[in-house]
Symmetry: C2
Subunit: 333 residues, 2 copies
């Protein structure tokens, strides 16, 4: 990694390398989120889209296609597709989680209402579907249809195991593969497919996206408990308050055994949380090695992601994707 | 129409003529609503699917394909697709409308929660999408992607014009074409497309579905105010309580002018409804001819639907679809 590389974050370097394509993606998103008949649709969508976010998923699609020497035009459609699916799931997630903050702004369900978030989400799903049909690739459609089903299934599974302290790491992984990794892996896989790559490379791109997505979610879970240091920063504790069975909690419950069970039953199963409970949860996680074990697992998945890239041709974008996997876990190292 | 025909309703005759295909559709629906990972999904779906409903939309697809001499297998996939889209929109509609009854049973959002309805609806959308990809027809995918966007757009438009007594009949038609007619017309159109029909017939099938859907919704609006007689039966008045700008209301507001405006402003705009207001609304609609004018418009669309069928080959299914259009409006004659 050169000094120049070290100076900027991998997603910023990806954004710079993919700038013309990302401009095209943003233009396409803006034109397709319009609705002649229902102005509420672009209002709600713009609220979320303009708030930024790193546009990680569309960049994954563009990078995957471009490092396979694809020169368009459909990687742009697919990148916009992936961002629309992501935006639709965020709108629905905020309704499901009754969230009031997203990307540092009030959520759409708070500014408008749950109805608008549900229906505009549906509209964006349909729009994403139109965009992918335009590519004319049935294989791409198959991948994205399967990913959409897996995402929804993961979200339902998460809902049904919520507050259940008997949740296993196996179930956790199913949830994460659904709610997060399915779209990451579809994003990279369709990039390879649209570029007409051989099966081994398509598979490698899928595996990169899958492992990156799992790693990304584990780090996210960890940050919600203050990272490996267990330091309480801002926005820490949402998962605890929502009684989510994220990986640090599952590991702490397993390691704590009968001694800590009453604490987890009271705070997670019964939702009876008092001042100091979050601090105690974090202290338990730190003491029992649950935070460190979660970090180690995230690192393992990041390594898997980097390994998968070895099947791909040498390319500066490949190196950036590899650095991106390191960067994801560097947030908690 | 023979005596035998007169003895049964057209949708019952369609169900009898399409029995083997409908069995295949029901089997496919049952297998595709399964989820290995999230049992909540088939529970919620079965609650709605098993409650019945006439399966009108999948029958439209099967009838359209079969009268064009298509003998399978993809009309079955498309019929299941259409029913999944319909079921998904019902789940989301009940969340949006905060409904507690559907098909004579408590709604899924009441039995489980809004979260499950939103996410299971998303899952069924994704499943519908997988089913249509299996047909391998990009044209079919294009039609159903467009219909999905139009449905969501119509629902958002309905939401944004709710309680607005300045809503025009033109806007009403846009809402209806979205929330109801788009799926009817897609259902019949894809039947012709999968059967490889010439453009004129595909267009005719689209027009039949579109006009039938509009007629169907107008009759539905009318029944919610007791039909043309204005008699109060059970389930009457939901639209009034929800302050929906349905066609009888729009026509009554236009015909009543300044004299009745305070009544509509109080009950619809402000939602200040008292005992006797529904009766008064119905009496106004009857006196001003709004109920009869709505019925007349529904009849006009039913006639359009029947006219469109003239472009199709002679077939007993064609005659049943024609009778179906008559039957839709006969409910209020």
């Amino acid at each position: 990694m050169s000094l120049d590389h070290a100076a900027t974050k991998p997603h910023e370097r990806l954004a710079a390398a993919l700038a013309p394509e990302m401009d095209a993606v943003n233009t396409l998103i803006a034109s397709r989120m319009a609705s002649e008949n229902a102005p509420r649709i672009p209002e709600v969508t713009a609220h979320l889209v303009d708030a930024g976010g790193k546009r990680l998923r569309p960049m994954l699609t563009l990078a995957a296609a471009k490092m396979c020497d694809y020169d368009g035009p459909f990687h742009v459609h697919l990148a916009a597709t992936v961002e629309f699916i992501h935006t639709a799931t965020l709108l629905h997630d905020d309704v499901v989680d009754e969230s009031d903050q997203r990307r540092g702004r009030p959520t759409a369900n708070l500014l408008w209402d749950n109805q608008s978030s549900v229906l505009v989400g549906d509209y964006l799903f349909a729009r994403s579907f139109q965009l992918m049909v335009e590519t004319g690739s049935l294989r791409v459609l198959d991948i994205l249809a399967n990913a959409s089903a897996t995402i929804a299934e993961g979200e339902v599974l998460q809902l049904t195991v919520a507050q259940n302290i008997a949740t296993s790491e196996e179930t956790y992984l199913k949830v994460v593969r659904g709610k997060t990794a399915a779209l990451f892996s579809a994003a990279t896989e369709v990039g390879g497919v649209i570029a007409g790559q051989e099966e081994a490379r398509v598979r490698a791109l899928y595996e990169y996206g899958d492992a990156l997505g799992v790693s990304f979610q584990m780090v996210d879970d960890l940050l919600d408990y203050g990272g490996t240091t267990g330091e309480i920063g801002k926005n820490v504790g949402d998962d605890f308050r929502e009684r989510k069975l994220s990986l640090p909690v599952i590991k702490a419950i397993a390691a704590g055994g009968d001694r800590d069970r009453p604490f987890w039953e009271r705070t997670i199963t019964n939702g009876d949380q008092q001042d100091g409970d979050l601090d105690k949860a974090i202290a338990l996680m730190a003491k029992l090695g649950a935070l460190e074990a979660t970090r180690a697992e995230a690192v393992t998945y990041a390594e898997k992601a980097k390994d998968a890239l070895k099947a791909m041709p040498e390319h500066e974008l490949r190196d950036m994707l590899s650095d991106l996997a390191d960067y994801v876990v560097a947030r908690v190292s």
